[in-house]
Each structure stands twice: as structure tokens, then as C-alpha cells.
């Protein structure tokens, strides 16, 4: 069965014909070529596929696109503005919060949602917000410092 849906992705409207079983991460990566959203565990555990749907972080590997017809999606590609990185992306570079980079888009989206909801989080709030994202290069300290720097700016 194919179903027509419409998604607003990073401010741009996309009309798509999808299978009910297609996940959002597959559509982003395989159909739209937006490979910034990473696909890893496919079980909701690692956080690398985190995107924002209507402003809130979700696992795009566990989300059937057909269920969010009409919703707005933000991915890591939407963070920069006309070639200028967001303050959070800049802070990740400044603090060396990127090692292999695989987990980075997920951390960026989770932290972006945190900062939009709570612009001045304390360290405990940052750690709590990021607790569902895994970094296998063990770079948590620098990631937390980068988010803290944006909060303190």
C-alpha cells in the first residue's frame, strides 16, 4: 500500500508517496539523500538518528513517516543558516566535541531542542537531556562543555 504524505523538512515542503512501514530515517537518507541523520542501532538505543519533529527530539529509526503526515521535521542539515554554522555547531568545533563524528548529528539535535526549551540549562540538566545519546569515542565531557558554553554565552 502506498500513501501520500507531506512533510515540512527544514522549512521546505516535501510531498512523498510512502509505504506504511517506512521509517523517517530511511526516507531522509535513502529517498531524499539527507545523510546527515545517521542510522545505527535501529532500536532507539544509541540516539544517532535523533531529529526534531514539531520541535521535540525523536528517534527517526522508530518513527513511521506515515504517522507524521503534515508535521515539521528538523534535521542536522537545517542547523546552519546560509553556510553559517549554528552557535552550537561552532561550539562543538571549538571544544573538540567531535571525534569520529558518527554520534554528532544526534547530539546536536538533542542539545538544540534542550537549548530552545531551556536556554540556560545547568550541567545536571544538560547531562540529563543527553543521557540517551551514546558516544563511543567517549567524548561526553567535551560535548557537555560545548553545550554549556552556548548556554553561558
Amino acid at each position: 500500500m502506498s500513501i501520500d504524505i507531506s512533510l515540512n523538512i527544514n522549512g521546505e515542503s516535501h510531498d512523498l508517496t510512502v509505504d506504511p512501514t517506512e521509517t523517517l530515517v530511511s526516507i531522509l537518507r535513502d529517498r531524499l539523500g539527507m545523510t546527515g541523520t545517521h542510522k545505527d542501532c535501529c532500536m532507539g538505543i544509541c540516539g544517532s538518528c535523533t531529529v526534531l519533529v514539531n520541535g521535540r527530539p525523536v528517534s527517526s529509526c522508530l518513527l513511521l513517516a506515515v504517522q507524521i503526515n503534515g508535521d515539521s521535521v528538523r534535521t542536522v542539515e537545517g542547523l546552519e543558516n546560509n553556510g553559517t554554522l549554528s552557535p552550537l555547531q561552532e561550539a562543538f568545533l571549538t571544544f573538540g566535541a567531535v571525534q569520529c563524528g558518527y554520534c554528532t548529528p544526534g547530539f546536536l539535535m538533542t542539545a538544540t531542542a534542550l537549548l530552545e526549551e531551556n536556554p540556560k540549562p545547568n550541567c545536571a540538566e544538560i547531562v540529563d537531556a543527553l543521557k540517551g545519546n551514546l558516544c563511543r569515542c567517549t567524548g561526553y565531557k567535551k560535548i557537555i562543555e560545548a553545550v554549556q558554553a552556548v548556554a553561558n554565552a
Binding site: S2, T21, C42, M43, G44, R56, S59, C61, G132
Partner: protein, 297 residues
């Protein structure tokens, strides 16, 4: 393209009608966080998905004039955690929802989906058992009420018939002086699964001698279903919480539960952790019961 059908239900009636038409071949999907794992792993190829995530009547939280809390089945864990009504009348539910997985799962996962999945490691069923909640179930011709304490039948198996849909959970108003608490042990702070042991407690104390007048307990990670430990409850009634009580309780509890051991955490280890977590949670519920305001701290 798969040959999976998809129905975006707008009402409970429409969802139940589709279930009846599907004759056991459909899956209800709300947040999708559990079903999508099975689909990604190749364990489930659904032939019909009935989406109830946008059914308005399943998305409400209400506290009635009688103080009873009604939570629609498609209410997300984030919405439960953020509800000031729930926090005011039953803080244990807020604690429970706040500790589920992590934010991005809380934003999609629903209380009804979690209950119907009936995973023995799940948190909402544990709270429902302790609170003696009632599950309102919609069927093709009528609704019926199923007590949480008889809902969980076997591993991933519930009292729901194939043409029935969980509509809402109903939690009676906590009586004055009742204290509630939710406690959990997990090796990883977020997203833990196999090591997780959880306990939910609702208790009332005798105003005279401070002994336990009534108690409800639910336990997660302690068997193939979420556990309602009746023997342990019976033992605790009429006793005061002290070292002697906890020692006797441990002996009864470890007999009453049958955790699933795995390569990392043996069943005996989980029995031990369960007794520790239950003890800690009982103490918190007892402290809150002193305040005598329906579980607030």
C-alpha cells in the same frame, strides 16, 4: 512497497471497527517505538497498521471531581511526566514517567502502548499494579473494565481480545494520608533494559501506631510479566517498616518473584536487587505518607 494496509483512525469507534474487520491480522500502533523495533529487526511484517496516535479521545489527561485520574492510552510518557494535575495527585506516576528510557523515547512512547506491550521490564505496568488501576477497554459492541492486576497474563500477553483496544487507564483518587513512590535500579542511567528492576508502592498507615494499614506494590524485571506480589503485600500489612520487617519481607519476596537471569545479571542477583529497591521505595512512600496529603512530599 509492502502490502501493509494503513488506517489513520480518527475515533476509537473507527479503530475498533478496523480491528474487527482485520480479524486478528492488524496491529494497533500509537508511538510506534516498540513495533518499529520488531519491524527493524525483521521479527514483524505487519499486514495492517491501525494508527491511534491522533485519536483525540485517547490523548486526554483528566482529573475528575472524585479525584480519579484518567489517562488516555495514546498519551505520551512526556505528557504524563509534564502533567501538573498528575504530579499534584499522584507523584509516583510523574517519577515513573520521567525515568522511562530517555526524552526522545518519552516523546513518542505512550502509556497505553507500553501497557499493551506488557514487557516485564516496562515501568507503567508496575505503577498500574501498585495503584490498583482499572483499564477501560473498547470492543466492537461495548467497553469493559479490566483490573490492572488481572491484565497481564503471560510474556507479552494480556487480557485484551484481538478486537479490543485499550482506551484509558483509570486511577482512583489516592486516599488522604496515602504515600506513593517509584524506584528503579538500572546499570545505565538511560535506555537500560536487561538489568532494570523497578518497584512502585502506594501505602497507607494506621494513624494510631503507624503500621501499614493498606499497601499496593508492583514490580518490574521480576518475572515474565509485571509482578503484583500479593504475598509480600499480605506480609507487610499490619507491620511497621523496620529492619526486622525488611528481613522477613526479603525472605518472602525472593520466593515470590522469578526474575529472568541472563548472561550479565543472574536471577539471584536480580532477586537481591529487587529486595533492595523495594525496601528503598517503601521507605520513601512511608515518609510521604506522614505528610498525609495523598502522596505529596
Amino acid at each position: 512497497m509492502s502490502d501493509c494496509r494503513f488506517t489513520a483512525a480518527k475515533t476509537v469507534e473507527e479503530a475498533v471497527a478496523s480491528l474487527a474487520e482485520a480479524r486478528g491480522e492488524a496491529h494497533i500502533i500509537a508511538g510506534g517505538v516498540a513495533l518499529a523495533i520488531l519491524m527493524n529487526e525483521g521479527l514483524l511484517q505487519p499486514s495492517w497498521l491501525i494508527d491511534v496516535s491522533r485519536v483525540t479521545e485517547l490523548n486526554c489527561i483528566e482529573v475528575g471531581d472524585d479525584g480519579a485520574i484518567r489517562i488516555g492510552a495514546a498519551v505520551t510518557h512526556s505528557e504524563v511526566a509534564a502533567s501538573t494535575d498528575i504530579a499534584a495527585s499522584c507523584p509516583m506516576l510523574t517519577e515513573m514517567a520521567t525515568e522511562i528510557a530517555c526524552g526522545r523515547v518519552m516523546n513518542r512512547g505512550t502509556i497505553g502502548g507500553n501497557i499493551c506491550l506488557a514487557d516485564p521490564q516496562g515501568d507503567p505496568p508496575v505503577a498500574m499494579l501498585a495503584l490498583d488501576a482499572t483499564f477501560r477497554v473498547a470492543g466492537p459492541s461495548a467497553t469493559r473494565d479490566v483490573p490492572a492486576r488481572s491484565f497481564f497474563e503471560d510474556l507479552y500477553t494480556t487480557a485484551l481480545a484481538e478486537d479490543e483496544l485499550l482506551q484509558e487507564v483509570i486511577i482512583a483518587a489516592p486516599t488522604a494520608g496515602c504515600g506513593t513512590a517509584f524506584g528503579k535500579y538500572a546499570a545505565r542511567k538511560a535506555m537500560d533494559y536487561s538489568s532494570t528492576i523497578s518497584a512502585a508502592v502506594s501505602l497507607e498507615r494506621d494513624p494510631g501506631d503507624g503500621s501499614i494499614a493498606d499497601i499496593g506494590i508492583g514490580l518490574g524485571g521480576c518475572g515474565v510479566i509485571p509482578i503484583w506480589p500479593e504475598m509480600t503485600e499480605t506480609l507487610l500489612r499490619g507491620r511497621r517498616l523496620n529492619d526486622e520487617t525488611f528481613a522477613v519481607m526479603r525472605d518472602v519476596l525472593v520466593q515470590e518473584i522469578e526474575p529472568i537471569g541472563d548472561s550479565l545479571y543472574s536471577a539471584d542477583y536480580k532477586r537481591h536487587v529487587a529486595s533492595v529497591i523495594l525496601k528503598r521505595t517503601l521507605k520513601i512512600a512511608e515518609q510521604r505518607s506522614v505528610a498525609g496529603k495523598g502522596g505529596g512530599s
